[in-house]
Subunit: 312 residues, 4 copies
Amino acid sequence: MPLTQDQKTEIERQRAETQPTRRATVPALEEILYQPVPVLDHGFVRVIDYMGDDAAVVQAARVSYGKGTKRVSEDRGLIQYLMRHRHTTPFEMCEIKFHVKLPIFVARQWIRHRTANVNEYSARYSILDKEFYIPAPDQLAAQSVKNRQGRGDLLEGEEAARVLELLRRDAETAYASYAEMLNEDEAGAVTDGKRQGLARELARMNLTLNFYTQWYWKTDLYNLMNFLSLRADAHAQYEIRVYAEAMLGMLARWVPMTAEAFNQYRMGGAHLSEKGLDVVKRLIGGEAVTQADSGLSKREWAELMEALGREA
Amino acid sequence: MPLTQDQKTEIERQRAETQPTRRATVPALEEILYQPVPVLDHGFVRVIDYMGDDAAVVQAARVSYGKGTKRVSEDRGLIQYLMRHRHTTPFEMCEIKFHVKLPIFVARQWIRHRTANVNEYSARYSILDKEFYIPAPDQLAAQSVKNRQGRGDLLEGEEAARVLELLRRDAETAYASYAEMLNEDEAGAVTDGKRQGLARELARMNLTLNFYTQWYWKTDLYNLMNFLSLRADAHAQYEIRVYAEAMLGMLARWVPMTAEAFNQYRMGGAHLSEKGLDVVKRLIGGEAVTQADSGLSKREWAELMEALGREA
Amino acid sequence: MPLTQDQKTEIERQRAETQPTRRATVPALEEILYQPVPVLDHGFVRVIDYMGDDAAVVQAARVSYGKGTKRVSEDRGLIQYLMRHRHTTPFEMCEIKFHVKLPIFVARQWIRHRTANVNEYSARYSILDKEFYIPAPDQLAAQSVKNRQGRGDLLEGEEAARVLELLRRDAETAYASYAEMLNEDEAGAVTDGKRQGLARELARMNLTLNFYTQWYWKTDLYNLMNFLSLRADAHAQYEIRVYAEAMLGMLARWVPMTAEAFNQYRMGGAHLSEKGLDVVKRLIGGEAVTQADSGLSKREWAELMEALGREA
Amino acid sequence: MPLTQDQKTEIERQRAETQPTRRATVPALEEILYQPVPVLDHGFVRVIDYMGDDAAVVQAARVSYGKGTKRVSEDRGLIQYLMRHRHTTPFEMCEIKFHVKLPIFVARQWIRHRTANVNEYSARYSILDKEFYIPAPDQLAAQSVKNRQGRGDLLEGEEAARVLELLRRDAETAYASYAEMLNEDEAGAVTDGKRQGLARELARMNLTLNFYTQWYWKTDLYNLMNFLSLRADAHAQYEIRVYAEAMLGMLARWVPMTAEAFNQYRMGGAHLSEKGLDVVKRLIGGEAVTQADSGLSKREWAELMEALGREA
């Protein structure tokens, strides 16, 4: 369970308060503000704050004095035009802030997106909770045979059971040693008055990478879409993809027109290379093109056929 | 006058609307939201949107579930600690968006601050207004004799009058040619049915650098303070400093504790070099240090004496 | 002419010196190092320094101890894979530095690429040369009727002549006033001993936007390709596109494998939207799709037909 | 031992090759190019490539055609001026690339410096070596009593021995499970033909944070100095500080004038707040100021007295 009772109470207290504002406000996002959406076994993601809406994108594109909005259909058209033609700066004019609880190995992938602001819970000051990620049985995949960095078939039976046992056992052991070295319990009370306890900044190195950390993560709408297009993609590692998928729902609440254009032009669709486009033209012309005479490598050919919904 | 009647009406319309929000809200900043503060002869700066407040800095520093605030005195202490020790990331958790109207030569200095988002009015799409900056008589300074990049004494009499005449005449001429080449008036009506009119993306090159442009400029609190510490500094060029000074007032309304710490630790105070610190220690010890035996260059010595409020 | 005799001599002096290095070195780029390639009437771009080569991309992707290179064909395959799948970080491991002389209105577009390092010639310290851009007759285009930000037909006859006359006259006048206000000639000698001269930081505002400035501009290979894909594109303004085109040649000398992949996957090719991909599938299936039943707007339909080399 | 024999041979092979270049070259840095400097028990840092030198900083500041250098004394003076007055852009014109082997918990601090380029060894593709960090006995510190995030006295005797035993035991166990779950040995050979082996992207989560990773890290001279000023500081965690200290030596070889100015103005010296400066003025005036009448908090007072080399 990702939240304690105290935390839940604090969140409810915050949700109960409203204040008047002259700023652009999005009721559909206000509805879920501060509420954690559970992800994985102990994680969550929740929206803490936001700035701007679809109209703010339009307003910035026009550098207008007022709200920017003319008619809804014109705004939608402009947003689709901006998305199609890679006009990125108007989308940078909206900002969003998340609070995320996530395993450390996921955090290490996530942090590679540099155009964002981050404050992570510091295990130099505080003691981490005893919470670690154990994959659900339907995510316990073998190494892919085809793809050097992907997952293949599910592990089953004894092998699966053994993996879960090892993951759990090692995390438990690591945490027990962490607590012993610190000479403190989770509440911060000294365990053994005759010992000093290892510095927290050292002790944390004994934890395994599936322990949970948490952070505040803030980014603009353009960079959020970059993040989502990479991390909500089918090729992303499952454990980060589930966060991205939860955030796609938040995107749709926040800026529905932008989300629609994002799905249409970036998540959907495909990028064809010069040679790939050539193959498409020949196919449309009725030619029976094969990989051998396409000029494409086998891998590219397979990718193109997949995009076109054809047998490779 | 920086705004037309239509623009004023539009701004008033926006200011009249409020909506309830669960987000952090700052009444002192809401009070002036959307209102342009006049700067120079035709420019302005106004706050369009903001995210977060002093408590959001504290909340991020603690990665806390709730508002972050414990007691006001603790929050102030934490903010001062963060400022003093260059902990920059919590200040990045607040964001602000301005609409600015400014001369092009000021925009060229401003844009050098890269950690910000910008949408500028495009003179490829639209026709610029006939508005250019003419310095007030008390800003018509001669080249400094001491400082290769600064201003010296005021120009007076005939020389001053001649400068103002040239600036005005050349801007008027440039704009007249711009309009003639475009074959359009400011309202967009064709002037001469027999001509085609030069492309807007070409015609704009004829304008002088004191013409006004405008943009939306969004940045986080940390980078805003970097901007202000450089541009509100006494050594900044006057024409950008007046914008920075107007923004200092907005900072104080928005995040009063952070603004106080900023003034205390960054705008006030001084950075001493290793040798400068040495001189200070010797002075405290009662020694009569001179530039010659200080190890400092003449220029550094003068800067140090100025910081210490002593005669160089 | 973009360079003085002194500058040419200095460049030749630099080109004449070589030193041994253990670093990755690219002979084809060394060949043109420091040499300005002329662009527009007074501008140029030249490579001042570089770091890395194609093998450095491979080496970074593999985080290898040695040169990274296995066999040429494997390296090429890896580079194409990285380009196709948007793996950007290995391309960030190469860096290049240019010296560019360009009109101010071009500099204002260029500077919008923020992930780069810039040092611009400061007209606060120094006096700008009397050099301004006048379009060649074959670039003197009318405003496009279809495209609100583009160029249409060429201006001809009297209208063209008048435009050139105005551009030249206003630039000449602006520069004459600039010099008079400064009370200095280009060599820095005082013109009139009885006047003080306006501060350089003020006087420069009288110049028109077609005056030339210059800067050092440094970026990594990934961000260079972003710049080139936008600015060497047929839709970019001619006056920045010619710089980008000159730089494409430098890219090909520097990292030939990366340049090949860039042309194949980014400059060539096309991005299809979800609906666009759908149209393509129907066309391949032999259906006679029309704009009306495509689900695409007229503008998108036209763009898609153009990409497929079909009549809209 | 951080390197295998193969790796050493490869490095020696690279060091043996030189090529002529027209680029700025720094013999003192060439001397150690590619050579790993050992850090901690299994880590290292080595320079892989660099661009520019002290003269390149000067050249960029002057936007000059040639080498920038006039006389050595003038160059030194200009570099000191730039450093003192926070002119950051000329220092961005030099670039350096490192190959670093470091514990994961150190990598997590390091990566917070966002203005850099990184390629990390991917444990999704490859299997990590069995190498983990165990603090030397003289670094086995207790939690500080005064400083919530720092280290205090050394642990000794039984407590120290127990900590080392736990760290070693848990890392060994974690690695054994990692290898078992992967069903592969370090050489990549399958251990048990009847099992499939867990996907590498999952198995890595079982490793503890003291395991070593490695990356290519590239940054410009300005951002390198930001990194060093924070991480070579006495308050930085020891395990990252030792990397920064090794890099300080490389900085001195690479850009000796810049390194001198960096030590003088940034590493040495101190930043005084407005109130701190006030205290200094009163002390110089001969007043016997105490914390109570200084206007400073106890903590700030202590920090100021330390900077002035006085008893708090």
